[in-house]
């Protein structure tokens, strides 16, 4: 297999990025990462709570995996930059998923602040993956600022609604030079396959795996769907027609002649 995802200077065999939130127990996280075969894994940063100490999630992420801390909790570019720098100071590398949100009902990202944060963090030497609303001009600005990928949402975070933004994501696939990674809203492996068939370079899944009855099994199902979708994209789907076109020859029928 020579088909690799080129991202942030790395060549990755896996096109399924995984989040670590909402799992029923931390012990399941490494099993799910293994089943998903993910090479890039997200997590968040929060204050240490000295009154109820909980173990650091990083202890459950295999060492060979690229850590992709997110800036969740940030409402402005400046807050995102602060969180990204804290993550780097904690020793988890240079990669960061920018998430700037001030809408609490739909958790839709603030593209304008995200563009600003992308500009600042690229300048600071980060590998920047911005989570965004699928808007062509915003994506162009993020790519121009040096984003390693652009990550449009399929549907609001945690909704499992699937690729509701398909038409807009297709425009990004066509027009944007850097990889497009669908992040958020992917609820089932079929949604992931659908996104991959369109030519997006990868998908990021968290809720759909973490809240499944059997997260490890679901992680594997997603890995298979992502691979199938990618293969289908590379194979090139046949044309869609309005009327039937027989698959069997239309000559030589038994009752002929």
């Amino acid at each position: 297999m020579t088909d690799k995802l080129e991202l942030g200077g790395e060549k990755l065999a896996s096109r399924l990025l995984m989040g670590t939130g909402k799992f029923p127990s931390k012990e399941i996280i490494p099993q799910a990462i293994k089943a998903a075969d993910s090479q890039v894994v997200t997590m968040a940063l929060r204050r240490v709570d000295f009154d109820s100490p909980a173990e650091n999630v990083i202890n459950y992420i295999p060492e060979e995996v690229i850590l992709l801390p997110n800036t969740s909790g940030a409402r402005t570019a400046e807050e995102a930059v602060r969180i990204a720098k804290l993550a780097r100071a904690a020793g988890c590398g240079d990669w960061v998923k920018i998430e700037v949100i001030s809408d609490h009902k739909y958790l839709l990202p603030d593209n304008q602040e995200t563009i600003r944060a992308t500009e600042i963090l690229v300048e600071e030497g980060f590998v920047v993956l911005p989570y965004m609303s699928p808007d062509l001009m915003a994506a162009k600005k993020m790519a121009a600022a040096g984003a390693a990928a652009v990550m449009p949402l399929g549907a609001p975070i945690g909704t499992n609604k699937g690729l509701r933004t398909q038409d807009l994501v297709e425009i990004l696939v066509e027009e944007i030079e850097v990889p497009i990674i669908v992040d958020a809203g992917i609820g089932k492996p079929s949604h992931a396959a659908q996104a991959m068939e369109l030519g997006v370079e990868a998908v990021l899944v968290n809720t759909a795996i973490a809240t499944a009855d059997d997260p490890v099994r679901m992680a594997k199902a997603f890995a298979q769907a992502v691979e199938a979708g990618r293969e289908a994209y590379l194979a090139g789907a046949g044309p869609v027609r309005d009327y039937a076109e027989a698959s069997s020859p239309l000559t030589g029928f038994l009752e002929e002649g």
Partner: protein, 66 residues
């Protein structure tokens, strides 16, 4: 002397540096980040910072997230 740690007051009964403070909290084996009076410090700098009254610390760790 009193300092503020993650928004809460904390009493220190001896002069210690940041590295010792993290050790006392049982966090030395964990990946954490420290913001000291608004400035993000690298772990190599923790030893050089001796805590004084009024200092404000933010101590951050990783949690599950998407």
């Amino acid at each position: 002397m009193e300092i503020t740690v993650n928004g809460k007051p904390e009493l220190l009964n001896r002069e210690i540096n940041l590295e010792e403070f993290i050790d006392d909290k049982g966090l030395s084996d964990s990946k954490v980040a420290i913001e000291y009076n608004g400035e993000i410090l690298q772990p190599a700098e923790w030893q050089e910072v001796v805590l004084t009254a009024g200092d404000v610390l933010e101590i951050i760790k990783f949690v599950g997230g998407g």
